[in-house]
């Protein structure tokens, strides 16, 4: 859950983002209060608030006065777009770099990707059985 490598407020923001991306927190649904986050993760309430406020600043959450915090309309699309961009920089670019180094062509790379998919499926199925 909370680890030591980065500021906690960033981790809280990411935990909420994850829930929005995988649908656990639907758009227009209410988000737990900062005090609830603080109590659940046993962290300082001000730190939890900082994480939530960051998402408010980015337009992912919005405040309803006197009621609480809600997921904004279009938040999921916004996050998915951002994550895709991050995915490209964090995974695809190094992958392409390494592939070039090893002389793996585009078609070969595509083949490898589809192979990885079937292998993942088989492992998942065998785990499920």
């Amino acid at each position: 859950m909370i680890d030591e490598s980065r500021p906690i407020f960033m981790q809280i923001a990411e935990l909420i983002e994850n829930d929005i991306v995988d649908g656990a927190l639907a758009e227009e649904s209410q988000v737990p209060s900062t005090n609830e986050f603080a109590a659940f993760y046993r962290i300082n309430p001000a730190t939890a608030a900082k994480g939530v406020n960051r998402l408010v600043d980015e337009g992912i959450l919005y405040k309803k006065r006197g009621i609480g915090m809600f997921v904004a309309n279009g938040a999921r699309a916004l996050l998915v777009d951002r994550r895709r961009e991050e995915f490209f920089r964090q995974y695809v670019q190094p992958l392409a770099r390494e592939a070039r180094k090893l002389g793996i062509g585009k078609e070969q790379l595509a083949q490898m990707l589809s192979r990885s998919e079937t292998e993942t499926e088989t492992t998942e199925r065998s785990v499920a059985q």
Binding site: P7, I8, F9, T34, A46, K50
Partner: protein, 311 residues
């Protein structure tokens, strides 16, 4: 309760406290803002209790100036009535039981919440009618913790409040502290040497060592402000050359070095290139590293061969 906002509520300048042959506080200057949970961290005997004592005028500084809520706290009932400080070695009247100690607290702390104290006593399974003199060490700590929490003083000190409390009771304390602080914001100064346990509760960290303030920073700024690289000695030495080294350890050809500073993306890539593992450093490890000598230098052409004892 007045606004617990961000304004400075404690200001001390060049405070020194000398006992016969030791200097417990050595020219300490410090500002503390209202409305936050502070961690006052350090080893035993680093000066934590002494600092809290002079801040609450229970003890006296040898020299220097102290202002709390804008005034010197010494013999100042106006200032003192807004403070609660139960010592780790707090004494109680011989004939008192916990219930009577709470009844006293109700007389002096205007925000005292009797129902909350009762609930905490239940949580800690504290026998209210037994004389305090006959309580176990953990139960004695619980009495202090309950007074500290239920007093809801604008400025509350907890002096190593967990002594003798088991893991469950300590967790109860941390949970109640976070819950109650969420609803009743105030300034809390929590002294501790069990740093890992409290790290996530803190908004601001003050580390004191040998009577001097060593770190005074936002907890979030400290988090990730150091990292450890592990790998082959020569490669680790190459990677860490020119960086500020907090600690070195080596075992055969392996070396583990703790470096001050944030690791950039480029640095992370470089470490990966060299086949080095990078691990975050916890607040506790960071403080241990920074209050200790770094250890012998690694040579570039081979790691030190002797096995060092890690702290």
């Amino acid at each position: 309760m007045t606004d617990p906002g961000e304004s400075t509520i404690i200001e001390i300048r060049n405070v020194t406290k000398r006992y016969k042959d030791t200097t417990a506080l050595d020219d300490v200057s410090l500002k503390i803002d209202g409305g936050k949970i502070y961690g006052l961290l350090g080893r035993n005997g680093a000066g934590k209790t002494t600092l809290m004592s002079v801040l609450t005028a229970q003890g006296f500084q040898t020299s220097g100036e102290i202002r709390v809520f804008g005034e010197p706290p010494y013999e100042n009932d106006r200032v003192l009535s807004r403070i609660c400080f139960i010592r780790e070695s707090q004494k109680y009247p011989d004939d008192f039981n916990a219930e009577q100690a709470f009844a006293s607290a109700a007389l002096f702390f205007s925000n005292w919440d009797k129902a909350f104290a009762q609930r905490l006593a239940d949580d800690f399974q504290l026998p209210l009618k037994r004389r305090i003199k006959k309580l176990s060490r953990g139960q004695l700590s619980a009495v202090g913790v309950i007074i500290g929490l239920a007093s809801r003083a604008e400025l509350t000190f907890f002096d190593e409040p967990y002594l003798g409390l088991d893991a469950v009771a300590r967790q109860i304390f941390y949970d109640r502290l976070v819950e109650d602080y969420s609803e009743h914001q105030r300034t809390i100064i929590l002294s501790s040497h069990l740093i890992d346990e409290v790290a996530n509760l803190l908004e601001h960290v003050i580390v004191i060592d040998k009577g001097k303030i060593m770190i005074d920073d936002d907890a979030e700024a400290i988090r990730g402000s150091a990292f450890t690289v592990v790998g082959t000695g020569t490669r680790v030495a190459a990677f860490t050359a020119g960086r500020e080294i907090l600690h070195r350890e080596s075992l055969a050809s392996l070396a583990s070095v703790t470096v001050q500073g944030r690791l950039s993306e480029a640095g992370r890539a470089e470490a990966a290139e060299l086949g080095l593992e990078v691990a975050p450093v916890s607040l506790q490890q960071l403080i241990v590293r920074r209050t200790m000598d770094p250890g012998p230098e690694l040579s570039m052409n081979g790691a030190a061969t002797e096995l060092e004892v890690s702290p």
